[in-house]
Structures are given as C-alpha cells and as structure tokens.
Amino acid sequence: MKHFLPFLITIATVVLVLLGWVQSGVVARERMRSSRTPDEAARLLLSQVQARKWDFAHTLLANTGEVEKAAFVRDVAGSNGSLLTYASLEKFDVWPLHNNGREATVRVKLHYSTAVGPLDDVRDLQVEHQGETWRVRWPTTTIAKVAPQVIPVNYLRWDVINRNAEDDWGVQNVDSPQVRILSMNALQRPDRIVILGEIVNEDTIPAYINVGATLLRPDGSPIAQETSFDKISHVLLPKQVSPYRIDFPGIKLDQVKSVRMDAKAMLVPASADPVIEVNRQKLETDALGKKVLRGDLVNQSGQIVNIPHVLAAYYDANGKVIWVSDGYVDQELQPQIPVAFAVDVPDDVAPKVHNYHVVVNHYDINNAS
C-alpha cells in the first residue's frame, strides 16, 4: 500500500489531466491546425484571425505576396475607428460551396461581438490546392484613396447658451424644438409587437429626440414600455425626418387596447455635417436568399465617419410605413469613397414594399456627444 498508493495517485492525476486535455477540445483544435481540405484551410485561417495572430494568419494565405499584411489586417480587424476596431470574432461557421480538386469556394459566416451588439458577416472565400495543403486566396482589394486636396466645408453649427443658475427666474431657456410624429403603425410579428413610423423635426433648430411607446390594456393600465433605442436617428436637423421602430418582445397585439406615444425633444448643440449620400439603393436577394436593401454610402464631407448606422423605412403603395430596419456598417466612411451597406427586409414585407427612405446616423470618435 505504502509504495502502491503514491503511484496510484500520480497515475490517476495524469490520466485525469489527459482526460481534461481531450475534453477541452485540444484535439479538435489540433485538427483545426491542419488544412487538408478547403474547409480546414478556412477554419485554420479564421481561428488565427480569431486569436488575432495576424502574422501567422497572413502566412496562411495562398496569395501572401499579393496581399499586404496591413491591408489584410485592415480587412479583418478594421481601421480608423470603424466598427470592426470595436469588434472581436466570437465564432465562425464554414461550409463548402464548390470544389473541383484544385480550387474551391467556401462560405464563411463570421459572428463578431461589437460595441453596438452582434454583427454577422458572410463572405465567400476562394481556396486553392497548393502542394499537400489548401490555402485561402484572400481577395486583393485596392483601397480607394482620395487625392490630397482641400475640401471646403462651410461649418454649420448650432451652439446653445443655457440660463445661468444666478439668472433671474424670469430668464427662461430657449424653447425645446418642436417635433411631430408623422406616422405610427403597430404590427404583430411572430414573436413581438412592433411600433414603427416616422418623426419630423418641424423646428428651425436641431432636435435631440427620443421616442417611447407604452402599450395599454383595455383598463388603461400599462402592459410594457419601450423606447426606440438605436432604431432612430436621435439628432434631427430642421425638417429632417427619421424612421423609428420600437419592439415589444413576447407581447400579442390582441392584449393591447391602445398605444401611448411619447416623443421628447431637446435642444442640443449640433452640426449639419457630415452629409452622407446614399447611392444605388436597391431591394435585392442576398447570397443566403434573404431580401435586403443594398446601397452605397458616400461621405461628402472631409472628415472620416467612424461608425455609420443605416436606418431604412419601407412604404407600401399607400405611402404607409410598413417596416423599419437598421444595420451598422463595419467600415468607416472615408471622404468621397463609397462603402456598401445592406439591411434586412423580412420576406413577408418585401413584396409589399413600394418605396423606401434611408437615413444615415453616425458616430464619430472626435465628436461623440
């Protein structure tokens, strides 16, 4: 016993550690380090991207010589304060599309965790058979650059001087902006009620707005209260219209007698820049068969827009707002350079869409307030 026990304990510990090793997915991870199939090559590359091992990931490319490492890193990790710089690749799915033995195409779905919520990106990667292994051919994208120039911007700003605490009580603040809810439509979706519509700033000064809704029972008591959160453009310039959408998960329309809308507007310092053009808007079907509204964003100002946010309102033939969708764009908007966007439209809504209106909201690192 006295000689047997130490060995038993030692061996048992080693066996348990080995079991833990296997359970931790180390073996599976080791398999991931091979690239004997196009799938494995894509997984190997993405696992390195996930670990932010850029050097090694770059060496795994089939076209290492053609793709600059900096460009590759910019492609997968973002630059200039874009949304991707606030993101980490949480997981990815890979599935093959086509394989002829020498070349293959795999589709990857990248699930990012970002500062504004989850972000999914679907890409089709070309994979080549080189020697014994497969390697991903990374698309060589030439980064459009704007020629050195001066872009004159007539800065239009509104500054606010509020009353001082020492002022006489008769000295009022400037009145809050006048805003109006143009339309409101309550929809029953499979898992929720959605309140959507548009709001306009009717005033001659910018408005900082928040829209909320309270669902009321037949006896007038509230069922739930929600706000539009990020499904609205909070800063509205004079006469600007923004779509809004308020979701009430888990509630059925037949429980609701009425809806109380609440639009709060506040006077804030604001700037009329940047102006963002929304080009080539089209309703299309994407690679996954989903209906999307696609287009390009062009920043007409001279400063970088770090995180653009696209809000789209869809109208039926009667001009009624029937859906509002939104999406964050993972690239920054460089001056004058188009950046593509796509926002989802539910399949049952798409056939009814007669027109749409896109509003671009934005976050700038240097002007976050």
């Binding site: 016993m1 006295k2 000689h3 026990l5 130490p6 304990i9 030692t10 510990t13 348990l16 550690v17 079991l19 833990g20 090793w21 359970q23 931790s24 180390v26 949304l83 606030y86 980490s88 949480e90 699930h111 965790s113 970002t114 500062a115 504004v116 919520g117 989850p118 900082y208 928040n210 909320g212 209260q225 929600e226 706000t227 959160f229 990020d230 609205i232 909070h234 609440d262 709060k264 506040m266 804030v268 995180i307 946010h309 909201n361 976050y363 690192i365 976050a368 307030s369």
Partner: protein, 581 residues
Amino acid sequence: METGYLRRPIPLAAIVLLALVVHGPLLTMQLPLTTSYDANLHIFFASHYAHHWFDPWNEKWFAGFSQTTYPPLGHQWIAIFSYIVGLREAYALVQLIAVVLLAIGVYRFSRLWVSERASSYAAAFSVFLGAVAFLVYSAGQLSTMLSAPLYLLALPYFYDWSRSADGKGLLKGLVLIWAAASVHHVTLIFGSVLFALPVVWLACIDRHEGRSVAAVLTRAIMFAVVAGIGVGVILLPYWIAIIRHPIEQIPIPHASRSNLLLNLNYLTNYFFVPYGALILALPFVIWIGSANRRLRPLLFGFWVAFLFGLGGTTPVPKWIFGRAFEILTFERFTLSAALLALPIVGLLAESLLDRYRAVAAVGLSAAAAATMAIAMGWLAWSPFHTLSGLNVDSVVEFLNRNGHDRYRYLTLGFGNALPKVSTYANANSVDGEYNSARLLPEMTHYGSAQLTSAKFFGTAGMESVRAMLKHANNYGLKYVFVHDPYYEPMLAFAGWRKIETYDSGTVTVWSKEDVPPARPIQSDAMPAPWEGLLWGTLPLGSSILAILLALLLPDRVRATERVVEFPAPAGERVYAREARG
C-alpha cells in the same frame, strides 16, 4: 554554529508575531484595496451594515438586493471596526486578524496529524503561503480567508468529540463552526468534505481501545447534525433567500474553470502563484502521506482539493459538481489543498532540518519567502490587472451633488472600482459586482457578469448592457459613467449624450434627458423585518460566543513531555505524537 533551536518547535507567539510582521505592513498600506478584485466588494457590504445593521435590503445595487444572500459576519466585524478606524482600515484589520488566525488554525489542525514541531513549521509556512497572498492581495477573498481559520480551529474540537466524547470540545467546536459558516458558507460546505471527513477518518484510527468505529461515527454525525441545525438557524434568512430565488442565471465564464494547461497566464495565476515552492514538495507530500496510515486521510483530502483547484484541467470538478461547476470558482480550492498539505510539509521540514540543519533552515526560509514574493510580484507582472485603484472621487462627487442621486447610474469599464463608487455615492446603481444577488432579467438572461465589464463577455455582455439601457426609463437610469471608450458608440446610438469629462478624459459622464427619477423596484426578495433582526444578531452572536468560550473555557495545556505513542503498525515510522495534559 549553535542550531539547537532548530530542533525545537517555533513558539506559537513567534508565529503570530511573524504573521503580524509580514502581513501587517502590507495591510497597513491597504494593499488589497488597490490590488485585489473583491476587497472593495467586502467594504461595500460592510458599509451597508454600518448604516443599516438590521436591514439587509441594499438598494445600491441591482435596483435593490438582499445582503442575506451572503453570510455577514466578516462584513459586520468590518462595520463594527469602521466606527472606530473607518471602513478601509477596518477591512485591513479584519484581514490581518484572518491571517493571524490562519497561522494559529494551521498549527492546531496540524497537531492532529503531526508533532508539535512539525505543526509549528506548518503554521510558519502558512504565513508565506502563495495561496494566502493570492487570496488576500489578488483575489481579495476575505470571507474565505476568515472562515478557513475558524474552521481549522473547530476541527480539533470535532476530533476530540468524535474520538473521545469530549463535551467541551463539542460545545467549542459547534460554536466555531457556526461562526465559520456565518463568515462564508461555501468554505464550510466544501470544508466538511475536504477537511472534516479526513478528521473523522483520523478519529476512527485514533479511537480509544475498545471503542468502536460506529461510536466515533455516531458522534461525528451527531456533531454534523447539530452543527447543520445551528447553521440552518443562524443563516435562516440566507436559506430563505436561496430557496426563494435559486441561482438560475446563465453561467458566467470564469478563468479558474478553464483548462489551465491551455493558457500560461491562467496556469501561473491559479497554479504556480498559489502553490509556489509547495510544488517542489508535492512528490514528498504524496510519498510521505502514503507511507503513514494516519496521514492517508489527509493525503486523500489534499488530493481531492488539489484536483478541484485545477478547475477545468481535469474533469473531476465537473463530475462532482455537475451544473454547480459553472457557478463555482476554483481558486479557493488551492488554499484548501495547500492547508491540507501543510502538516505533511511541516514533517518534511522537520526531517530536512534534522538532516541539514542551517542549510535546510536557509533553504526552507528562502523557499517560503520566494513563494510569497512571487505571489506579490505577480500582482505587478500579471496581465490581469484590477481597476480597484481607479480614482472615482469625481464620479462620487457628481452623484452626490445637485440631486443626481434621485436617479440610478451605471458604470462601464470600471471593473472592480464599482463597489468603491457605490460605497461612497448616495445614488443607486442597476449594476453590481455580486453575481449571486442579481435578479433583474436584463442581467440574468445573458451569460455575462457585471455590466461594467460587459465587453469581456462578448455578445452576451453587450446584449445585457443593451437590454439594461433599453429599460433605462423603467429603472430611472439616467447617468452612465464610462471609463472605456469601447462603450461610447452604443451609448451615442442609443440616445445618451456626453455631459461631463473627468481626469483628462479618462472618465466621461453620459446622460439621457427623458429619464424619470428612480422609483423603488418591487421585489419579492426583500427580507422580512424579523429576518433582518435575525441577521443582525445571530451571526455576530456566534462569533462573540466563540470568543467568550475561548476566554472562559481555556483548553487544557498540552504537555510536551508526556507523549502517547500512536498505535502505528510495526515497521511504520511514527510521524505524529499526541500529547495530553
């Protein structure tokens, strides 16, 4: 060189002095408050008791939570001392008491297994234990650190009662167990398996001639039943809270649950640092522990605790704890393993000193000092840095002026500086640093811990923040303090506006205008007034009773000369001698 003193036990008073000399200055500098993860949390809890002794409902976190979800004794003693020296110093004082008690506890626990001399070495080593330095200065686990010595002190009485029906042992053991449970129930639950079972086993081995094992076991069970009933009564509000709201939240990831071999930093943090030079002694612990029949229970206890301390490195914790594996953190088991190993390490030290005298003394001292030095150095070298040292004065000042405390607030990127804000600000937060008390659906429905550290939990964390911000109006959540620009885009897109900036832009304040003042959020977790009365009296009462019993019923002085030989099998060396007066 005269080395006769190396053949004598170190006096307990000298060990206590050693603990005071080593940890006293570090705690006087209030090191854990700026380096550890949980010290500010304990101060926050204590602050509530200092202001509302009989009302455990604390509105400062989670829009209201019950402090009956965490045993109160450590916090209550901090609250008591805070009336004299202030909260921060009171924390340091209680922590110092814990470290001193640990050395005494290790000594007394070791005396069950090994000689007085070896026990004194074990106690001396406990002062330098990496796990102790890790838990005190890095983890800030005051409760574990305070309940463990109380539990160790109780075990010899448990042994005495189980082995020889010592009535005084029963009384003192029970009171100490109740006090230990009043500090930290989790330590007691695991301690009952890892520490108490080996002691029962030992009591069976050491039973008086003619006495049956059944009698020993019966007394042990009796002890356990009475202790359990006592703990049930003393912590009744806790059990009510836990039954009413069992922990059903989605598990929160913790590094101690991972396979440590896959990450060198985790391995260092949860293995090399807590064990230090003890790692070198592990083969001897196994060898010596196996060689002697009396030490085998201790060896098994150590082995199980060691495997638990490895977290997800082996599948054992997952097999044993099932779903609880995802709730527990496993760094505390390294302390248990180390404490269980110490008596055998004391024996090893005794043997080395006998053999190599001064060389061994120097070597052992160096190993002990290096163990603690590495643990302290890891505070600086570790890639895991706490934010407990963050200056939050401007945040507190903002919340305490111009009626800002009529609203709730949220911090983002403050890490464990959140409790510091909450302790000194009058306003209430929707967030909190104590995961088990979270009941708001915005927090429990996602697999993330504190909102303030949401980004480290990926999508789950950010979705949790998003859900909370969406319901800002419901909670009166008007102010968000940001210490990490990562969170700014979500706030900006969600309708919050930056209104103030502090500390050269490192902290920004964001506000939303349409938020109504906070109103109390109704909760069925609010304890009844009688629960508050119970909570404010029984736990503290158990500790005062323990102190009184220690003073009024002193233990019999153990003579060092009259030695009773253990009934060890022939051929086995006797490692421990029990001495009785």
